[in-house]
């Protein structure tokens, strides 16, 4: 080519310098602190104030909490142990009374039943909550609603079995009657068959079976023995389980074109959402028996469960309606153009998407419902808060305050926080957008 490079080059670097590490003030803990805590003069002041606040809280909380007072049998005992009147936690009350806060007055020798119930609940929930669990377990999930009340209340095994038979009869009627009667009449017929079975045949048939094969658990003396966190669980789980399907039906009713159906659903939803839960619980405790045929006297826990279920299904309906409204119209039209009928379109196209959109709302309704179970203490059922009041009136523990409520708050916090974290996990898992 040319000889421009004829003379030798004096120096050419053959190896590149190692890249320098960024200054310590930009990366690592110091850099992090600089950007997140001390980015400006104002921020530094705020950080220092916040640190002082945290120190203040911890300096009160930690010395208060860490005392070995587990063996105390009364508040006086505690004060002798720690040597101070105030400023020392008395954990003896938790050791002394945790059984009542968790189980209420449930007979001690029967406590394996609610515990087993809880374990079975987790087993039954596993296939619903997590997709990598064997699908066969869903059959157990379907059976759980019948096992659960039986384990809690006891009695003959034939009652829950025959209650399940009602569902099976309805299903069979729907399956075989559809050809002959058409879907609408088959569905109405199935509901009628099931209701007739429960009203008129359930009792006698299960009595007959019980006299032939008397299998059963010891019957619980009174529902008022169910108390503490267990009561919150019983009401919460049953109401959550029932309110979702009822809520879906109500939401569909509210979205439908049928004027009368829509009016009924709107009226129900708006009425329930307009009144506080406590008034509905008053209805449960004083009025519900008046609405029933003369002579009926059913259980207070059952009455509460009915009202709580009605209450939360109205909220559930609104959440699901939000999900339905958020779906683009094309999804409905797409379902129609595929030739699906209303229920097929709902089941295959609309509901899966609408429910997915409404997951955060559904879970926060569940959390609200579980927290609202504490309201039963106002109508005299002994849930954890009811027990706290009772324990604080006990001569041994008069003056106890923080320990008891902290323990109960922790129980609720763990459950509710767990639910909200699960909903976040589910949202992430079901997310299909980018």
């Amino acid at each position: 080519m040319s000889d421009t490079h004829a003379q030798t080059v004096a120096y050419v670097r053959e190896t590149m310098l190692e890249p320098q590490a960024p200054p310590v003030t930009v990366v690592g803990p110091i850099g992090w602190a600089k950007t997140n805590l001390f980015s400006s003069r104002l921020n530094t002041v705020i950080t220092l104030i916040a640190l002082a606040f945290v120190y203040l809280v911890l300096s009160i909380l930690l010395p208060w909490a860490f005392h070995n007072t587990w063996s105390a049998t009364s508040l006086r005992d505690c004060r002798e142990m720690t040597g101070t009147d105030h400023g020392a936690a008395c954990w003896g009350v938790i050791r002394d009374r945790w059984q009542q806060i968790l189980f209420g007055n449930y007979p001690v020798d029967l406590r394996w039943r609610p515990i087993l119930d809880l374990v079975l609940l987790l087993v039954a929930l596993a296939p619903i909550l997590f997709s990598n669990v064997p699908r066969k377990l869903l059959w157990f999930s379907a059976a759980y609603p019948f096992i659960m009340p039986w384990l809690i209340w006891g009695g003959s095994v034939w009652v829950p079995v025959m209650a399940a038979v009602g569902f099976i009869l309805g299903y069979l009627f729907l399956k075989f009657g559809e050809k002959a009667l058409g879907s609408l009449f088959a569905m109405i017929g199935a509901v009628v068959v099931a209701i007739v079975w429960w009203l008129f045949f359930l009792g006698p048939v299960s009595d007959i079976f019980a006299s032939i094969l008397p299998i059963g658990l010891e019957k619980l003396g009174s529902s008022r023995d169910i108390g503490g966190l267990m009561l919150a669980f019983v009401i919460g789980v049953v109401a959550i389980g029932l309110s979702l399907p009822i809520g879906i039906v109500l939401a569909l009713g509210r979205q439908s074109d049928l004027l009368i159906v829509k009016t009924l659903c709107v009226g129900f939803i708006e009425f329930i959402r307009g009144v506080p839960l406590i008034t509905l619980l008053f209805v449960a405790s004083t009025l519900l028996n008046i609405f029933m045929p003369p002579g009926t006297n059913f259980d207070i826990v059952l009455r509460v469960i009915i009202m709580v279920t009605l209450f939360s299904s109205a909220y559930m309906a609104e959440v699901i309606r939000g999900g339905l409204a958020a779906l683009p119209k094309g999804q409905y039209e797409g379902g129609d153009s595929l030739g699906l009928n209303y229920w097929q379109a709902q089941r295959l196209i609309i509901m899966p998407q609408a429910l997915k959109i409404s997951i955060p709302g559904i879970v926060s309704t569940f959390i609200g419902l579980f927290k609202d179970t504490t309201l039963v203490s106002i109508i005299g059922l002994l849930d954890p808060i009811g027990w706290a009041t009772a324990i604080r009136a006990d001569t041994d523990w008069i003056g106890i305050l923080w320990e008891l409520y902290a323990f109960i708050a922790l129980l609720f916090f763990i459950i509710c926080f767990g639910m909200s974290r699960y909903s976040m996990y589910l949202e992430r898992k079901l997310k299909t957008s980018h």
């Binding site: 049928l258 004083t286 008046i290 609405f291 927290k371 203490s377 106002i378 305050l401 109960i408 708050a409």
Partner: protein, 409 residues
Amino acid sequence: MTTITDPPKESFRLSMLLYDTRYRSMTIQVIALIGFSAAVWWLVGNTIQNMNALGKDLSFNFLGEPAGYDINQRLIEYTSQSTHFRAAIVGVLNTLVIAVLGCALATVLGIVIGVLRLSNNWIVSRIMTVYVEMFRNVPVLLWIVLAMAILIETLPAPRDYKGDDATASMFLESVAVTNRGIFIPGPSFSNGFANSTISWLLVVGVLVASILAIRYVRAQATKKQEATGVRPTTWYLQLGLLVVPVSIVCIAMGLFWTSPELKGFNFKGGIHLRNSLIALWLALSLYTAAFIAENVRAGIMAISKGQSEAAGALGLRPNRIMSLVVLPQALRVIIPPLISQYLNLTKNSSLAIAVGYMDITGTLMGISLNQTGRELETLLLGMLIYLTISLLISAAMNVYNSRMQLMER
């Protein structure tokens, strides 16, 4: 030859009720209506039968009978000789008091916490996260009961203020914080109207008139700004309009403050804020603030960063960016859930019965129910009252929503 003939007229068959879409919806609705009527018929029939068996009838006459119980917090005249109806009114007013107080405090706290949770200061946002999770995941009833217990058990008793070796002292000689409630100075008029309510109404009326005048001043300022591009300074005029007329009225009627004084075993005079009110107020506000904080956070996060950057590029100052660009858009997202939180707070205020605050649940659905034994009537009335309040609030929300809706073309 072709002729156009009408398609053959279908005669009506019974099966068309089910398979013809023209009639099917009618059929379903009629069935639904029949089912609903049957259910109502059944419930009403049962109720009548049961009421007859108990020897009761449906009558609201009890509302005119003397209630026979005292209510410790009342905004209107009420004695134990007053009627159940008046007791219910006192209860409604107490419900409204706690609802308004609670909503105000919860909004302030919620906005502060929601904004701080978005702070880029790590430790501040963490503290706020802890607050929100702590309050959201624990039942509100527990907070209410706990707040009440704390007030009763940790605050000094009135007798601690007594004598030379008093262990507690009044704040600024006028506020006493005791385990029976907080006593603060109360205003009264020395030469106002004989009926003090009229005097207060006059003050409120003057205040409302001042606010209307201020709005007029602002509107004029905006008009001038739009015409000339320069906004006249009006803040001193606004401040004067707000303060001067009310002060004149108050001074004319001889406003003076009575401080609480320790007499016997308790404080007398001034305004007595009862423990039940304070516990309920604090617990409801702190609890609802956690939810409002989440709504505020979501609202601010919904406004894309480009909006404030674009406003900055137009040369707006940071506070103008906030008030003219970010807030109007964020409010559209924040207000609807905010109002439903107000609704929740109002309904949760019915938990007042747990601490003995005499709201509508405590008077009409509590003591009146127990004394007259008229469960059906009292509960119906009570529900109706709550329903009215709720519907009014949600009607306000709908009006707001339709006004603020984005005008899409």
